[in-house]
């Protein structure tokens, strides 16, 4: 490293708990050096120290009562639903749990949002009211229903949960293994769908029968949770994440696990030990990441709903690249319990689906404070979100941050986003230019904080201690370093090295602490902008979908994908990405809406209004065999 002597690079590998093979060490360290170099802009920015927020002690703290992890399941919002089946071998806890929440008990009721819009029949779609731009690929396919369509269909008895599940499974068999998005289909799903079919209508939850695909970094009891890494080979989670438990309690069917970048470090879903995921719109291109598996699967119609996690844009960037809708809620709205931590202060779980209406449907279930996650907040529930009249966005002010339209954004993309802004104006909103100067350094701030926290969160691996190999050193730490060095992928190692450096003695003030100040700066800048406007609108990513093999050599270019999304994570804001057209290569382009903290409803309303007026979100890629035929012709 340029300002680090050789011995210090050894020291870094030592701190990060890695031993690096000779053939990779040189390249890894020179890449880290370049990354660190790129982060100096944060130091140069001369950010002031800002006040941190302190919460009253005890307000969320646990009472000193033994009751076994993780305590009773948080009450489901809305009415009480029958308990979902429990995966996995452990029996005694099942009884304990059912004993804790006796069936039939009614939880404090809250209105569950009705699916908005007219109820379409099976196989039909609402006729697009307007196609603002020349035709892209047209909507087609057999399981093209959205979650809200499904809920209505079940209500009318048009189909059963099993039929829907089978349609999804058929679609998975059409696309996989070529797509590389779904890495496991749960056997229990069929049984669960059959059980749901037997439920009387009054006991059905708001997500009755809706299949859900889950990113590989969210825990499901008894199921593998690999985070796309060899490091977690054979690991099965002993409990189900709060978010998933809530989905299941609302009647959702967990369908399977989806691929992701190793430990969510990346923007291509190309670093997983399960192989690369392809973009369903063009198999030569990547789907974005790190929730690329869920994004590709939802785009291809393998499931109406998916769950992803977002630390710097990991839901929104792949959603944009795959032409679907993805949402990162306000920090604290959805519990992080059971989400394998990457950068704990930035992480969040969020839903991904074709349209905003499904996001609203699932968020009504996902949201709410959770005693298992101290950072959840008691925000007012989303409630019902309705688009009313011809000018549903009357009085809403939308800011277009001028910095978001630079940064190498292709012209075609910028045009599509500005066109979307025009549509918002037609719906009653006023668009003004605003400025978010720290956009320039937001990515660097993110890359100071995220690797630092990641190096801490990944210090626990391997969970059962290092497995020794003939070549590994005899002492514990030596064997540990050697095992971690062999098992983690190179992107993980890069981030662990950078993170260890940013936190190391003598450097943390100049690096990590600057990153903290930077995050507070980004937050206050957004707060200033939100005094003038209700929403910020821009492109989701400055970089169009890129080829599968590209970029792995140049981590810095790779990081650019997140340049426009990290701001919402640093400031904890709700942010939505939704499709707004196709570029000349026929690839979808994403529109990014960011709102003030807690105003998730406003962001979703704007997205819903936009999708009622356009049909970009209904376009679907052709399944592989059709594409083959097209190519033959």
């Amino acid at each position: 490293m340029s300002d680090l002597p050789e011995s210090l690079s050894d020291h870094l590998a030592f701190l990060a708990g890695l031993s690096l093979a000779e053939d990779e060490a040189g390249e890894l360290l020179s890449q880290c050096d370049r990354i660190l170099d790129s982060l100096r802009v944060v130091q140069a920015a001369g950010l002031p120290e800002e006040e941190q927020e302190y919460f009253p002690a005890f307000s969320h703290w646990r009472e000193d009562r033994p009751r076994g992890f993780p305590g009773p399941l948080p009450e489901p919002r809305g009415k009480a639903w029958p308990r979902p089946p429990v995966f996995g071998p452990s029996k005694e806890n099942t009884e304990e749990e059912s004993a804790r929440s006796p069936g039939g008990e009614t939880a404090p009721a809250r209105e569950v949002p009705d699916p908005p819009g007219p109820a379409p029949g099976l196989g039909e779609h609402p006729p697009p009211r307007r196609s603002p731009l020349p035709e892209g690929p047209s909507p087609e396919g057999s399981s093209a229903l959205s979650g809200t369509d499904l809920v209505d269909g079940f209500r009318r008895g048009d189909f059963t949960c099993r039929e829907v599940l089978e349609a999804c499974l058929e679609e998975i068999s059409n696309w996989e293994p070529g797509l590389g998005a779904v890495i496991e289909v749960f056997e229990e799903a069929e049984e669960r769908a059959a059980a749901l079919d037997r439920l009387p209508p009054e006991e059905r939850g708001p997500l009755h029968g809706v299949p859900v695909l889950v990113k590989d970094n969210i825990c499901i009891r008894g199921k593998e949770c690999r985070c796309g890494s060899l490091m977690l080979e054979g690991y099965r989670a002993p409990w189900t994440a709060t978010a998933l438990a809530r989905l299941e309690a609302a009647g959702a069917v967990l369908l399977g696990r989806t691929n992701m970048d190793e430990f969510a470090f990346g923007s291509s879903t190309g670093t997983s030990c399960f192989g690369k995921t392809r973009n369903p719109w063009n198999p030569e291109l990547c789907p974005g990441g790190s929730s690329g598996g869920t994004a590709a699967a939802v785009a291809a119609g393998l499931s109406p709903l998916g769950l992803g996690s977002d630390t710097g844009g990991s839901i929104r960037q792949p959603a944009a690249l795959c032409g679907i809708t993805g949402f990162k809620p306000t920090r604290g709205r959805v519990s992080r319990d059971g989400l394998v931590a990457f950068a704990s202060s930035l992480d969040g779980i969020g839903p991904m689906s074709r349209g905003v209406s499904d996001l609203v449907l699932s968020l009504g279930v996902l949201e709410g404070p959770d005693p298992r996650d101290l950072t959840t907040l008691s925000l007012p529930p989303l409630g019902k979100i309705e688009v009313r009249g011809a000018r549903p966005l009357d009085g809403i002010r939308i800011g277009l941050p001028r910095e978001h339209f630079g940064m190498g954004l292709p012209e075609a993309h910028g045009g599509l986003v500005l066109e979307a802004a025009r549509i918002f104006e037609e719906m009653g909103a006023t668009c003004v230019e605003v400025s978010l100067p720290s956009t320039r350094i937001a990515l660097s701030i993110y890359h100071l904080l995220a690797p630092a926290e990641a190096s801490s969160n990944l210090a626990r691996f391997p969970l059962r201690g290092p497995r020794s190999s003939p070549s590994s050193p005899p002492d514990f730490f030596g064997a540990l370093r050697s095992f971690r060095g062999r098992t983690f992928g190179s992107e993980v190692k890069r981030r662990l090295l950078v993170g260890a450096f940013c936190l190391s003695a003598g450097h943390r003030e100049a690096w990590y602490e600057r990153g903290r100040a930077g995050a507070l700066r980004v937050r206050s800048e957004y707060a200033e902008v939100f005094e003038k406007v209700d929403l910020c609108l821009g492109p989701t990513t400055p970089v169009p979908a890129f080829p599968l093999e590209d970029r792995s050599r140049d981590p810095l270019a790779h990081y650019q994908c997140d340049a426009l999304t990290v701001g919402a994570n640093l400031a904890g804001l709700p942010a939505l990405s939704l499709p707004c057209g196709f570029d000349p290569e026929g690839m979808p382009v994403g529109l990014h809406l960011v709102g003030p903290p807690g105003r998730d409803g406003c962001v979703l309303l704007a997205g819903l209004a936009y999708q009622e007026g356009t049909d970009w979100h209904l376009r679907r890629p052709s399944p592989p065999e059709r594409r083959r035929k097209e190519r033959a012709r």
Partner: protein, 481 residues
């Protein structure tokens, strides 16, 4: 001849808090369970688990800080302290080391000297490594249990004083119910640091202004070891100083087998812990209302309680202070007086009879199987003289066995069925066996009669009525009778 250099000793004490559950999860905080039986995803550090901090742990730590008069930080947070070790499942320890819960405060020793604290803070404990042959086993029952770390100023003057300080501290923490202070269960562990005082105005720097080298000793798990290790170390340092060898700061550990300290590492080799603010526990405020309610619920200090006993019940202050050395004995005193026992008699009986009876029965205060009400009945009989002291002792022992008071009294408190003991014969026999006591007594030595009564009691097997015996001895005081 030069005087030997005086030592300056500081202590770093880890106290396991007396909570029911661990610091960040609801697993039981208990010693002695089968290995790895008190664990959950959070204390195992499984991916996806989050900390759930325990409010009682914070309350206990604040209670200790208030009792020592420390200044409590209004703004608090936890940090992650990273190091790789087999019994540290997350690869980091969650601690307030960088931003301590409280600073300052002190504890007064019986000789009036005070030892000041530098800081107090909360942190989680690691698991335990058990080495067996070439294998190491990990028990994570202890992982995540709440610890209060107390660091004193380096102002303790001798190993003996260090030991005394620890004894008083332990007693105080037990009094406050902050910890059981049980060293065998690892509830109280201690590291010590020592340097030789160079004299002069600034005693942490030598004449050239360089910091005085400091030796840290780890792994001191009993008060005796603290004293022994410090004695050894001070002697070693003095010897080095005598030989003119320059002393370097280092960390040493106590080798119990060979009664000596051993080098672990030089100062400056301390690991880089890469502190990171714990992102899963938002920084928190300690508001004045919280402190106020803790102050109100705080237990009376031993000194104040002893003064109150002395004032309200008319017992001498030294006696009251002795009663108040342990919270339990003070509690029993109050309960017995409440139940009608005479304070002065009760105080003496508690300090002697009661305590020795507990010791013989091998039970601690918490395990006493009877209620103060029953005990007060026994005490009343003893005071009235309707039960002899030795019979009282037997009854108390039976109650500890445990038996209800009435049954214990019926079994061992009364003479065996049969004729009443012939008191005159007992008195005669006692006088025959202890002529010298009789002689002394007749010569006017009043106390000598107790030896006679005691002898008669022994002869009766403890069943005779001491008052009746006294009357008969009085009748025989005049010589010739």
């Amino acid at each position: 001849m030069t005087l030997p250099l005086r030592p300056r000793i500081g202590l770093e004490i880890h106290v396991r808090l007396a909570t029911r559950t661990k610091l960040f999860c609801s697993c039981e905080n208990r010693f002695g369970a089968p290995p790895n039986s008190l664990v959950c995803p959070t204390c195992l550090g499984l991916p996806g688990s989050l900390p759930h901090p325990n409010r009682t742990a914070l309350e206990l730590a604040l209670r200790a800080a208030l009792a020592f008069g420390s200044e409590i930080a209004r703004r608090q947070s936890f940090d992650r302290k990273h190091y790789f070790y087999p019994d540290l499942p997350k690869g980091y320890q969650c601690t307030q080391q960088r931003t301590p819960l409280a600073r300052g405060g002190s504890l007064t020793l019986p000789d009036g000297r005070t030892v000041s604290f530098l800081r107090l803070h909360l942190e989680e404990d690691a698991g335990k490594s058990l080495h067996a042959g070439r294998k190491t086993w990990i028990d994570l029952n202890r992982a995540g249990t709440p610890l209060l770390e107390l660091v004193t100023e380096p102002t303790i003057r001798s190993p003996k004083e260090a030991r005394l300080f620890l004894t008083i501290l332990r007693r105080r923490l037990r009094w406050l119910r902050v910890s059981d202070g049980d060293m065998e269960k690892g509830s109280l562990r201690c590291d010590a640091n020592v340097s030789l005082d160079p004299g002069g105005a600034r005693n942490d720097r030598n004449e050239e202004g360089a910091p005085v080298p400091r030796i840290e000793i780890k792994n001191l798990n009993s008060f005796r070891r603290v004293e022994a290790a410090l004695d050894f170390e001070i002697e070693r340092l003095r010897e080095l100083a005598r030989r003119g060898v320059s002393i370097r700061s280092e960390t040493r550990s106590w080798d119990e087998k060979n009664d000596r300290t051993r080098h672990m590492r030089w100062k400056g080799e301390a690991p880089d812990y890469r502190y990171l603010p714990e992102p899963d526990i938002p920084p928190f405020r300690i508001d004045e209302e919280v402190l106020e309610s803790l102050r109100l619920s705080r237990p009376e200090s031993p000194r104040l309680r002893a003064e109150r006993f002395s004032r309200d019940h008319g017992i001498p202050l030294p006696v009251a202070s002795e009663l108040c050395m342990e919270r339990e004995s003070a509690d029993w005193f109050e309960a017995l007086v409440e139940a009608g026992a005479a304070p002065d008699y009760c105080a003496n009986w508690l300090r002697r009879e009661f305590r020795s009876c507990l010791r013989r029965a091998r039970i601690v205060w918490d395990e006493i199987p009877f209620l103060p009400g029953e005990c007060a009945k026994l005490l009343r009989m003893l005071q009235e003289g309707t039960l002899s002291p030795s019979a009282g002792r037997r009854v108390l022992e039976a109650m500890c066995s445990p038996l209800p008071f009435e049954e214990a009294l019926a079994r061992v408190g009364r003479p065996p069925a049969g004729p009443e003991p012939d008191l005159d014969r007992l008195v005669e026999e006692a006088c025959r066996r202890r002529p010298e006591a009789l002689e002394d007594w007749r010569r006017g030595k009043e106390n000598a009669v107790h030896a006679l009564i005691g002898e008669a009691m022994r002869l009766s097997g403890g069943y005779a009525d001491p008052k009746a015996l006294r009357a008969r001895f009085d009748a025989r005081r005049a010589p010739g009778t």
